[in-house]
C-alpha cells in the first residue's frame, strides 16, 4: 500500500527506507514537524496527507492495526528539525499506547514531542470511565489546520494548542450500508442484509452502536446530524466546515445527495457553511457508507483552513 502511494506520487512522498513510514518528498522542513498514522485501510489517510501544509510523516500499521512504537520513533527522528514534533493520535487504546511508547523513546533520545488525541466520533459516549470517543474523519481537519499553523513557523506549544482547538470543535458520526472485509480475515466485520444499515460505525469495520432498517438518505442525515448537533452548541450565525467523507465504496453522487440535506439542516439553524469537503478522506477499505463531520470555525481556524495545502489526498490551492 505504502509502495503504491510512493510509486504513484513520488513528487509528494518518499518512503523512509526500511520502515512503513512516508515522509515528504522534499524532506525535512525547518519547522515543527507533524507525525500521524494508524492502521492501513484508511487511504488516502494518512500517507495521502503528507506534504505542504499538512503532515511531515505518516506511519502505517497493518490493516486497521496501530503501527508499533519503533516505526513511530523512526518517523519522529526522520522529520524532527530540532523544533519539536507533534503526534496526532486517533483515540484508540492501541494507537495511544503505541504512539506514547514512541514518544517516550523519542524523548529519551532528546527530541521534544507533544501529543494530541482526536476523538470526534459522537457515536460513542464520552465518559471519564471509558476510553472515550474514537478519532475518525475529523482528524483530517486537525492535520490540515495544525499543519498550516506549523508551516507559519509557530512553536510546538502553539501548534499543539491549535490542534486542541480543532479537536474541541470537531464532531463526526458515520453510517454503513455494507461492511468492509479485512483482506487477512476474508469475511466482513459484521453482517448487514440489503435492507439494513449500521449507525455509529467506526472506521475499522467494527459494528456500530445501532442497527436499523434502511432509511432514505435524508432520514439518515437527519439522524446523524441530530447526534452531532446535540453534542456541540451552535448559535445562529456560527460558521462551520463540513466534510462528507466516503467510507471507500460510496460514489461521489451519493455523498452529494447526503450533503444536500446537511446544507438544508444547517441553513435551517442559521449556521453558515464556510467550506464543504466531499469525497474519500478517511476510508474503511471497501465499506459502503459515509460520515458527516462538522468543524465549528472562528477567524483563526478559517484562515488556517484556507491556507495552502498540497498533498495527494487534500489540496487547497
Amino acid at each position: 500500500m505504502l509502495e503504491g502511494i510512493v510509486l504513484a506520487h513520488p513528487e509528494y512522498v518518499a518512503r523512509l527506507e526500511g520502515f512503513d513510514v512516508l515522509i515528504r518528498a522534499d524532506k525535512k522542513i525547518n519547522k515543527v514537524a507533524l507525525v500521524s498514522g494508524g492502521g492501513s485501510g484508511h487511504e488516502p489517510a494518512h500517507g495521502g496527507f503528507v506534504g505542504t501544509g499538512m503532515l511531515d510523516a505518516a506511519v502505517a500499521g497493518s490493516v486497521f492495526t496501530s503501527p508499533t512504537p519503533d516505526q513511530v520513533l523512526e518517523a519522529i527522528k526522520a522529520v524532527d528539525t530540532g523544533q519539536g514534533v507533534l503526534l496526532v493520535i486517533k483515540n484508540y487504546t492501541g494507537d495511544i499506547m503505541n504512539f506514547e511508547m514512541a514518544a517516550e523513546l523519542a524523548e529519551a533520545e532528546g527530541i521534544e514531542v507533544a501529543t494530541v488525541v482526536t476523538n470526534d466520533d459522537v457515536a460513542v459516549e464520552d465518559s471519564l470511565y471509558t476510553t472515550g470517543r474514537r478519532g475518525v474523519a475529523g482528524t483530517v481537519f486537525v492535520h490540515k489546520i495544525a499543519g498550516a499553523r506549523a508551516e507559519t513557523g509557530a512553536s510546538l506549544d502553539e501548534v499543539k494548542a491549535i490542534a486542541q482547538k480543532v479537536i474541541a470543535n470537531v464532531r463526526t458520526m458515520g453510517v454503513a450500508l455494507k461492511p468492509c472485509t479485512v483482506p487477512a480475515v476474508g469475511k466482513p466485520g459484521f453482517e448487514l442484509s440489503e435492507d439494513e444499515m449500521e449507525l455509529g460505525i467506526g472506521i475499522h469495520g467494527e459494528p456500530g452502536i445501532e442497527r436499523k432498517p434502511l432509511q432514505t438518505a435524508d432520514e439518515i442525515v437527519d439522524y446523524l446530524m441530530k447526534r452531532i448537533l446535540n453534542d456541540i452548541e451552535f448559535q445562529v450565525g456560527d460558521e462551520v466546515a463540513a466534510m462528507i467523507n466516503g467510507a471507500g465504496a460510496t460514489p461521489p453522487m451519493e455523498l452529494y445527495i447526503l450533503n444536500r440535506r446537511v446544507s438544508q439542516i444547517l441553513a435551517g439553524k442559521g449556521i453558515r457553511v464556510f467550506k464543504t469537503f466531499v469525497g474519500n478522506y478517511m476510508t474503511s477499505i471497501d465499506m459502503a457508507g459515509a460520515s458527516i463531520t462538522l468543524l465549528k470555525l472562528d477567524d483563526e481556524l478559517k484562515e488556517l483552513l484556507l491556507a495552502q495545502a498540497d498533498t495527494v489526498g487534500f489540496k487547497m490551492c
Binding site: 497493518s62 486497521f64 492495526t65 499506547m97 470511565y129 474514537r134 469495520g205 467494527e206 459494528p207 452502536i209
Partner: protein
Amino acid sequence: MATKSDVLDFIRIYADKMAEHRQELTDYDQAIGDGDHGINMSRGFKAVIEKLPAVYEKNIDEILKTVGMILVSTVGGASGPLYGSAFMKAGAAVKGKGELSNEDIILAFDEAVGGIQFRGKAVEGEKTILDSMIPAIKAIKASIADGKSMAEALVDGEKAAWDGVEYTKTIIATKGRASYLGERSIGHQDPGATSMAYVFQAAKEVAEKVGC
C-alpha cells in the same frame, strides 16, 4: 522451580497456541472489536519464534525482555504494547536469575499485571486481558499458599482464567475497542482475556510435563 529451558518451552507452546487459535481469537474480536486479535497475536509470536534462537544463550530475564520487545515491535494494536509490557516487566522482575522459584514466578506474573495496568490504565471488570489474568494469579497464589505444587497451582490458575473469560461475557466493556459498543458488548467473550487464558494453559502444560 522453572529452568530456562522451561521458559523457552512455555514460549514455544504459547506461540503454537496463538497460531492454532488465530481464527478463534479473530472471530471473538470481530464480534466486539475490529477482528484482528488472532492475527495480531499470531504475527507477534511467529516473530518471537523466528528471533528466539538469537537469545538462547542469554539469561531468563533477557529472554523475557526480548520477547516483550519483539511483541511491541511486531504486534501493534492494543495487544502489542500490553503483552509486550507484560513480558518486559516480567523479565525485569527476575533480573539475574538462572532459574525461577515459585516466588519468582509469582512476582513475574504480578509485575506483568503492573505493566499491563501502567500502559492500559484498566482495572478488573472492564472486559480486558486483566479479567482472566488477575483471577488466575490470585488462584495460583492461594494454591501455593495451601501447599500445592506449581503444576497443581497452574491447573487452578488456568481454571480461574477460564472462569474470568466466562465472566467477561456478562459485563460491558469500558476499555479497548469493545467499549464503543456499550451494551452491545454484553454476551461476547473478550478476545484479550481469552488469549491470556492460553498463557496459563501453556504454563500449566509445561509444569505438568516437567512435573514441578
